[in-house]
Symmetry: C2
Subunit: 199 residues, 2 copies
């Protein structure tokens, strides 16, 4: 008992956020109720608008409410470079390095044990996207994990016949880590040190 | 750039939550968008309902959308015991000890340097509440911090002429800590070991 129903429901709902347990959810709920109701209402609206309005970019397949995301709709970017990543947060991470080419966003990595093959993560769409574009280099920037490496090598083999330059970000990124957690300097170094990847 | 406007607004709005910085907010936003949109909508509704609907219990002044909170509306509780705490989270913490008397919830503690005197934290209302009730014991369960101790002693002096039993939770709770962070066992022990407090 002890909290009234609306407060209990708010605490329960906050627990859907990753990393938020019961005590943290209680502190968040009480903080908003006691000190920041206008912030709480703003968060409510931002959630409703984003959950209802955000879909996927038609070109790179990152999350976006517009048909084209900010990266795809920017005419000043280099159309000859394509950077392939596992998810939208990786786009943000790679942007911090100063990269100004295009992107393609997979739905994670190949994971045969979980039944996630090439179709499940969008590799056919990647192939179509490359066939339609005029890329000279495809940078495989999947995570430096076992699965990310395997995904990069699978794509490299698939694209080898196209005569593109296929590169992999250098192992400046710590092995076993996740790209989105790497600091910008390390990732910039890894981007600069990218090298051809064998099919 | 890199995130579309609705996603950027969601990330900004999530940062109002205590302890949530930019990276955590990004992970939360993308988690909801990619894996739990229905949870995100449920959180949006829970926030809107709580921010608009929750006020204060007329009796104990804890947060509640009803005129009386669950503790005040429960007829089976002991009307002769009153537990005075600094905030709604402390009610939750004291409930875990098995306490089944009544509560009065202050708005924090006395803090003269911040201009927070007895009126600002609701001590006149506490006096009225005690005058109207038929309490035989008032348990001062403010935080075991310097400010919480000072607040307990101030209230004890104020109430001394009333001939009530005035007790303070025992110093089983770690000095300098916050009540809501103490584990239930320690707090139960401190409640059991409460002792009279001099005016
Ligand atoms: Zn795009
Ligand atoms: Zn109440």
């Amino acid at each position: 008992m002890s909290f009234s129903p609306l407060i209990r429901q708010l605490i329960d709902a906050l627990r859907i956020l990753p990393g938020v347990g019961q005590k943290t959810a209680q502190r968040m709920a009480l903080h908003l109720l006691e000190r920041d109701r206008s912030g709480g209402l703003r968060l409510s609206q931002a959630l409703a608008r984003a959950m209802d309005g955000v879909g996927y970019c038609q070109q790179c397949r990152t999350l976006s409410e517009d048909a084209l995301c900010p990266q795809c709709s920017d005419p000043r970017r280099d159309d000859s470079l394509l950077c392939v990543v596992e998810g939208p947060l990786d786009v943000f991470a790679v942007e911090q390095t100063g990269y100004r080419g295009r992107y393609f966003v997979l739905k994670g990595h190949l994971s045969p044990l979980d039944g996630l093959g090439p179709e499940a993560i969008g590799i056919p769409e990647l192939e179509q996207h490359i066939a339609r574009g005029r890329f000279s280099e495809v940078i495989l920037a999947t995570n430096p994990t076992v699965e990310g490496e395997a995904t990069a090598h699978y794509i490299a083999q698939l694209l080898a016949p196209r005569g593109l330059s296929l590169t992999r970000i250098a192992h400046g990124v710590p092995l076993g880590g996740e790209l989105e957690l790497v600091d910008g300097g390390t990732l910039a170094h890894a981007m600069a040190g990218r090298r051809p990847i064998g099919g």
